[in-house]
């Protein structure tokens, strides 16, 4: 039994790793790739803590085989800030206390970023349904939703 070799791009950087055919992308990220920002909260696609983007599309890394990342471009939480600068969402989450224990935060940020990229002017309802795939047990979502909406306004103002 030999492993499969995968070449992919993560946060703009070319990366390679070895994996078994049945390994999920989350297994690969947290294992051979050492990118532990994506978390395993359930392993069944029900909590969103492992949210990443693949070719710009929001998915759960636990629901994708690692080998499928061959030739694709992935986005993880580790690539959300640029250089030393936090993304506006990251900054707003800190300012508005939109995180407590922080375990859901990488997934929520990736999902919120994807939401705003598709819909720069979401209503509260659109934000809530856009983040319905990300479970948070600490905050009750209130400050998360406010932070996303404020960031959207700020990003529209700056645009």
């Amino acid at each position: 039994m030999s492993k499969m070799h995968v070449s992919t791009t993560i946060n703009g950087e070319p990366m390679e790793f070895l994996c078994e055919a049945h390994d999920s992308m989350l297994d690969a990220l947290r294992g051979p790739l050492g990118l532990t920002g994506a978390k395993e909260g359930c392993g069944t696609g029900d909590c969103g803590a492992c949210s990443i983007t693949v070719d710009g599309r929001l998915i759960c890394a636990c629901l994708m085989l690692a080998v499928e990342s061959e030739g694709k471009s992935l986005g993880t939480i580790e690539g959300m800030s640029q250089g030393g600068d936090l993304h506006p969402l990251q900054r707003k989450f800190l300012e508005m206390a939109a995180l407590q224990c922080g375990i859901c935060t990488p997934g929520v940020l990736i999902a919120a970023k994807a939401l705003l990229e598709h819909n720069p002017n979401p209503t509260e309802t659109e934000v809530r349904f856009g983040l319905a795939g990300n479970l948070c047990r600490c905050t009750g979502y209130d400050k998360i939703v406010r932070a996303v909406m404020e960031t959207a306004a700020e990003m529209r103002g700056a645009a």
Partner: protein, 746 residues
């Protein structure tokens, strides 16, 4: 210091651990690795109740990838006839909870564990362990477990002289309830049922343990590194001084991580294999084998006079302990009637064992169950009296001097203020539409003080490092930084707050009980005051004057008056730069068993809308009112209030453990264990009332737990007003709501 003109106390500063959390760098237990690390996995009982006849691990041990196998034989035995307490945990139950001994007591109970070169090999090798079971009949619901013909879990548990599944009883009495009920002009008696619910932390249990030369290092997701060290010591036999327990960043606990499941097992595997061992639970393991809170059935009876004075109150609460004794009857029986000044009270709790995972603490353990029945009955009493439900509570509200049924006389508390604030709030008088209803409820939680240690050290470049001893689950690092910056008179950004491990900070009790900020703020305050004394002494030395003639103000040392001398002020930086020549390092530590924590009170208002054809419920609006003492960091206090409300909404509407016909959890995943998602909730408004705790330097009261106490009844009472039907069981899931709506009108 209860001065409201503070610079940092009362500010929602950026949390020190925030940048790491938003960039994915924060190190949770499952994120850590060590060279040579191997993986541990647990073999779990396929039966809900069985005697263990034999465990044969020979084939597993012979597997080339397996490095160690452990069973109960490796765990220290605590004989059943001698209770050994560690905090509130009885080690007889803990040792059997982490690894089955005589019996498998629930489906999922750990039977053995393997450490192997990969998770895959470990999982495969588990199949090589042969276990012989004598399958026994099982029972799960508390009501079934107390029936005369119920299977008995433990022969050594007796009640009324006979073997029983009732493992304990707790009783509080005030006055004479029979006399009280005789005088009552209105009496309401109802029975209630709740299903077990899980704390729902998104991070599963995880740990990494390394044992080298008999000394262990334990990284784990835990609410108490000192508890981890002690538990590991008791359960493995290693002396505490040979165990270093390091708290990783924790991804939620809510009480569920105030005990251990994996750490002692991983330690034994690491010791036997000579390799660091990592163990991470799957979500399914969390749901099958870690402690949720109790399911319950209870009866509450309240009697009042026509003018609304409550004259008698009685509550009997049966709480499910799970497989081993220890349900939170203290919280149920003790908190249920505590918000009220009632002359005659009888509150009784029963601890009932049954074949499901042993319960663990969940945010104000037991209190939500007690309050659920009481606050629903109060709603009916108010209705019978033609009285506003908040007015009824206000009339009977506990105040300074009220004696609570569970013992203490209340000092200055803020319960009345929460009711008054609720009544005056626009939410209470906002109009409602068809199929909508508004409910209210109040609640109480004991809070706690307890042991805490802190160290405040000044760096050579004139900034501050604070080390505390409690894992941070609510934002305590930010609050401590606020307090330290305030006391020393310096910018918040110059204070670093870290959580020490068992080797680097003194003993500190668990993060739980709504005590972390209360206790750590006390020791940090005292440490900071000692540091200020040192700074003044150093300035005095530099100026060659008497230390009594120096004041510390706004981050600088100054001569006390013109007579002391005309010296320009010395800043913290200035003094730190001269630390060596003026006496050495500047810093102080304090360790205390803190006291003076007083209870927390809250009142909630909830609006719901019911779809009468589908039974689905939408929470339209939710406002919490709580006496928070002093909101050192307002956003994180709000965060506790909002988080508790959200958990309460889930518990009331859709969360429950569902068992199949084989005694197994049928919904061990987030798909069918239905916690609220973002689109299920409205904004959760939080009104913080600050009535400072006179026994605390900053006036702090614990805030973390009482938010989960009122929601169950607030939502039930709202459902009544939306549907004209009273609900007496949780969760109020759509099929149950629809069934109730179709019953004949009451």
């Amino acid at each position: 210091m209860n001065d409201m003109s503070n610079k940092w106390i009362g500010k929602s500063t950026i949390r020190p651990d925030g940048a790491e959390k938003v960039t994915g760098r924060a190190a949770y237990a499952a994120d850590t690795s060590m060279p040579g690390m191997i993986w541990g996995k647990v073999l779990r009982s396929p039966h809900p109740h069985a005697r263990i006849i034999s465990i044969n691990t020979a084939k597993a041990e012979a597997h080339p990838g397996v490095k160690a196998v452990v069973t109960h034989k490796d765990v220290v035995d605590f004989p059943l006839d001698k209770s050994v307490m560690l905090g509130i945990q009885d080690m007889r139950w803990m040792c059997r909870n982490i690894m089955a001994r005589e019996k498998a007591l629930f489906h999922g109970h750990p039977i053995a564990a393997i450490a192997a070169i990969s998770e895959k090999v470990a999982a495969e090798a588990l199949q090589l362990i042969d276990v012989e079971y004598e399958v026994l009949p099982w029972v799960i619901d508390a009501e079934d477990a107390i029936k005369p013909d119920a299977p008995i879990l433990h022969d050594f548990i007796k009640f009324d002289g006979k073997p029983s599944n009732i493992a304990g009883k707790l009783e509080h009495k005030l006055g004479d309830v029979d006399k009280g009920f005789a005088e009552a002009e209105v009496v309401v008696e109802r029975s209630f049922r709740t299903a077990p619910v899980h704390q729902g932390y998104i991070e599963t249990h995880a740990c990494l343990v390394s044992v080298a030369d008999g000394k262990a290092t334990v990284w784990s997701s835990s609410q108490g590194q000192f508890m981890v060290r002690a538990m590991c010591s008791y359960l493995t036999g290693l002396p505490q001084s040979d165990i270093r327990a390091i708290p990783a960043e924790i991804g939620g606990g809510f009480g569920g991580k105030t005990i251990v499941y994996l750490e002692p097992v991983a330690l034994l595997l690491a010791k036997k294999s000579g390799r660091p061992v990592k163990m991470v639970m799957t979500r399914e393991e969390v749901m099958r084998a870690t402690g949720p809170t109790s399911g319950s059935f209870s009866t509450v009876k309240i009697g009042a006079k026509k003018d609304g004075t409550i004259v008698a109150a009685q509550g009997t609460f049966y709480l499910q302990a799970g497989a081993l004794p220890g349900s939170p009857i203290r919280g149920a029986a003790g908190c249920a009637f505590a918000p009220y000044n009632i002359a005659n009270v009888h509150s009784l709790g029963f601890d009932v064992v049954s074949n499901r995972s042993k319960v663990a603490a969940y945010r104000a353990p037991g209190a939500p169950i007690g309050a659920y029945g009481v606050e629903c009955v109060l709603d009916e009493v108010a209705e019978k009296l033609g009285m506003d439900p908040l007015a009824l509570r206000l009339k009977n509200a506990a105040k300074e001097g009220t004696k609570a049924a569970h013992g203490p006389v209340f000092p200055r508390i803020g319960f009345q203020e929460t009711i008054e604030a609720a009544m005056a709030h626009p939410h209470y008088s906002a109009p409602l539409g068809p199929n909508q209803g508004r409910g209210v409820a109040s609640g109480f939680w004991f809070n706690a003080g307890g042991e805490s240690s802190a160290q405040v050290n000044i760096t050579e470049d004139g900034n501050v490092v604070v080390t505390t001893g409690h894992p941070d689950i609510g934002g305590s690092r930010a609050s401590i930084a606020n307090i330290t910056a305030e006391l020393l008179g310096i910018d918040y950004k110059r204070v670093s707050v870290l959580i020490g491990d068992t080797a680097t900070i003194g003993y500190s009790n668990l993060t739980g009980g709504s005590r972390v900020l209360f206790a750590s703020a006390m020791v940090v305050t005292q440490s900071s005051e000692k540091v200020i004394t040192q700074l003044k002494e150093r300035a005095a030395k530099i100026w060659k004057i008497d230390p009594e003639a120096v004041i510390w103000d706004n981050g600088e040392a100054r001569p006390a008056g013109a007579n002391a001398g005309q010296f320009p002020p010395l800043s913290l930086k200035d003094i730190a730069a001269k630390a060596s020549e003026t006496g050495g390092p500047i810093g102080a530590g304090v360790q205390l068993n803190t006291t003076g924590a007083e209870g927390g009170f809250a009142t909630h208002i909830c609006d719901v809308e019911v779809d009468p054809e589908l039974g689905t419920v939408k929470v339209l609006r939710y406002t919490s009112f709580q006496d928070v003492g002093r909101a050192v960091h307002p956003a994180y206090v709000e965060g506790q209030m909002q988080g508790g409300a959200a958990q309460g909404i889930g518990w009331a509407l859709n969360e429950e453990y569902i068992y199949n016909a084989k005694g197994q959890v049928d919904n061990p995943a987030f798909l069918d264990y239905r916690m609220p998602v973002c689109s299920d909730l409205p904004m959760l408004d939080a009104v913080m009332l600050e009535i400072p705790n006179p026994k605390h330097p900053q006036g702090v009261r614990g805030v973390g737990e009482v938010p989960l106490v009122p929601p169950l009844a607030a939502i039930s009472n709202a459902m009544y007003r939306a549907t004209h039907k009273r609900f007496y069981a949780l969760p109020m899931s759509p099929p149950r709501v629809l069934e109730k709506l179709e019953q004949a009108a009451e």
